[in-house]
């Protein structure tokens, strides 16, 4: 590490230190770590979405209401395809009509990636759907994300038919 980087690191630590005095970011709070974000926006933690303590997505989220708006992706891609945009626009319309509603975007992958990579790919899919909803004017504080990677396929089996159905983001409304 050269001197310039050392000085920079020092400055960053100083800034981060100051920021942490004002707002503790211990993971459970899920707030800003004092670093600027250039992509997306900070994700809300479960508390901010109206969930207290540990939750069970199967029990505490309603996946039925927006089931038909499940968004599908190309292989190893997280971008929202043109064909999938109307579904996200429909989700945005629902959220505007129900201003108290909060939801989780839940990203999934097919089994053709390695496990840990798939966990982050699923998250990236959920993040891109969230970004799209924010672009439709929905406040990011209403939208949480989580990824199951390839742990919860929608359909079992091998072959492109199954894979295509498993590369998806689902929308779970927080039951209140």
């Amino acid at each position: 590490m050269n001197i310039k980087n050392l000085v920079l690191l020092g400055l960053i630590s100083l800034v981060a230190g100051c920021a942490s005095d004002m707002k503790k970011d211990d993971g459970s709070a899920g707030g800003n770590a004092g670093w600027e974000s250039s992509t997306g926006s900070d994700l809300p933690d479960p508390n901010a979405l109206g969930i207290k303590g540990d939750f069970d997505p199967e029990r505490d989220l309603d996946f039925d209401t927006l089931r038909s708006d499940t968004v599908y992706y190309d292989y190893d891609r997280a971008t929202v395809k043109a064909s999938e945009r109307p579904k996200l626009e429909a989700v945005a319309i629902y959220l505007k009509a129900n201003p108290k509603a909060t939801l989780y975007v839940v990203g999934h992958c097919d089994v053709r990636g390695t496990m840990e990579y798939n966990r982050t790919l699923g998250e990236k899919r959920a993040n891109s759907a969230r970004d799209f909803l924010m672009g439709q004017g929905i406040n990011g504080n209403r939208i949480g994300t989580l990824s199951y990677g390839s742990e919860k396929p929608a359909v079992q089996g091998d072959g492109e038919d199954a894979y295509a159905k498993n590369r998806r983001s689902e929308f779970g409304l927080v039951k209140k």
Partner: protein
Amino acid sequence: MKHASLLCSLLLTFGIFCSSRLVAQSEIVVDVRRTPISVEISGSNGAEATKVLEQDLKIHGFNLVSEGSGKFVIKGTADGTSVQATVTESGGKSVLSDTFTGANLRQAAHKLNDAVVKVATGVNGIAATRIAFISERSGKKEVYMSDYDGHNVRQITTDASINVGPRFSKDGQFLAYTTYKSGYPTVMLNRLSSQDRKRVAAFGGTNTGPAISPDNEKIALSISKYGNPELAVIPLLGGEAQRLTNTRGAESSPSWSPDGRRIVYVSDDRGSVQLFVIGAGGGTPEKLVTPSNYSTEPDWSPTGKDISYTIRQGGKFQVSVYNVASGKSRLVTNVGENTDAVWAPNGRHLIFTRGNAGRGNLIVLDVASGETLQVTPNLGICSEPTWAP
């Protein structure tokens, strides 16, 4: 008999030898001269001790020969949970004479093996080491621990949730993993000595892929609270996150260099899925050139010289080893499909998952000889192994 030979010729048609179970199943064949060694252990538990020791010696690249012959001759007696043994080199020189005692006979035999491996090759043996991994035996994914060969299993978690990606600290004192117990992926740290645990990363979004720094001070992981998955470092017991990357891609699977100064990880920021190295305090990442546009699951060897990773070739996953000095990669598996390799504490053996979609059997590979051993915890579908001293 007729059916058997028909089956045999069918199998032969597909290039599989019926006797493959009898001969050593070899990965990429390594041209190595195996040191001949012999084992002769008597006593009330002599037979069992011999069986364990022979398995151990084989996976350390030795060639087992008839009693009393070989470059090294092991003679001893096994009673209770102890093995007393002497090892003589051809010519009659005694190189080892000791009594090995364990919690059980297997462990005593493992200790004897590691002592023999040390005097014969100078390398640390792995027979007395432990592994942790995920098993789906209960229908849920839980963390288990066992000896390196799958014996003496202990269940670590009983969350009835999805627990994945376990990683030991270098000293085996801590075990970090991702759990869905909270409802979303958060990172848990188990303290094995006191059998307690703490949730150390629960930022909004996905928290996954924890890797404990060699000095047990920090955890590198992937967190998405910034709006997409980025590489970050947190204190061992949780706290403020220091962000290391800032891309539009997803960063994942960090692994520390043994000196704790650098981290190798996966990023798909530049279109394909590649390995990068970044300073432990951040900085400009350096891309590792590998012969595949899908390279994931890096694990930095304890020697610092190599990085194992998963490569996709022709739609199949295999384990490859990247040499840091030369920048060259070498495929080390070619039987079935293999993922999620991690190094043994000695930097010579790897353990990985053999099966489709990263789930199946755990296999130990001696990279130096190409010898493999199937780990047999009898726990059904297993995945994501990690190795402790």
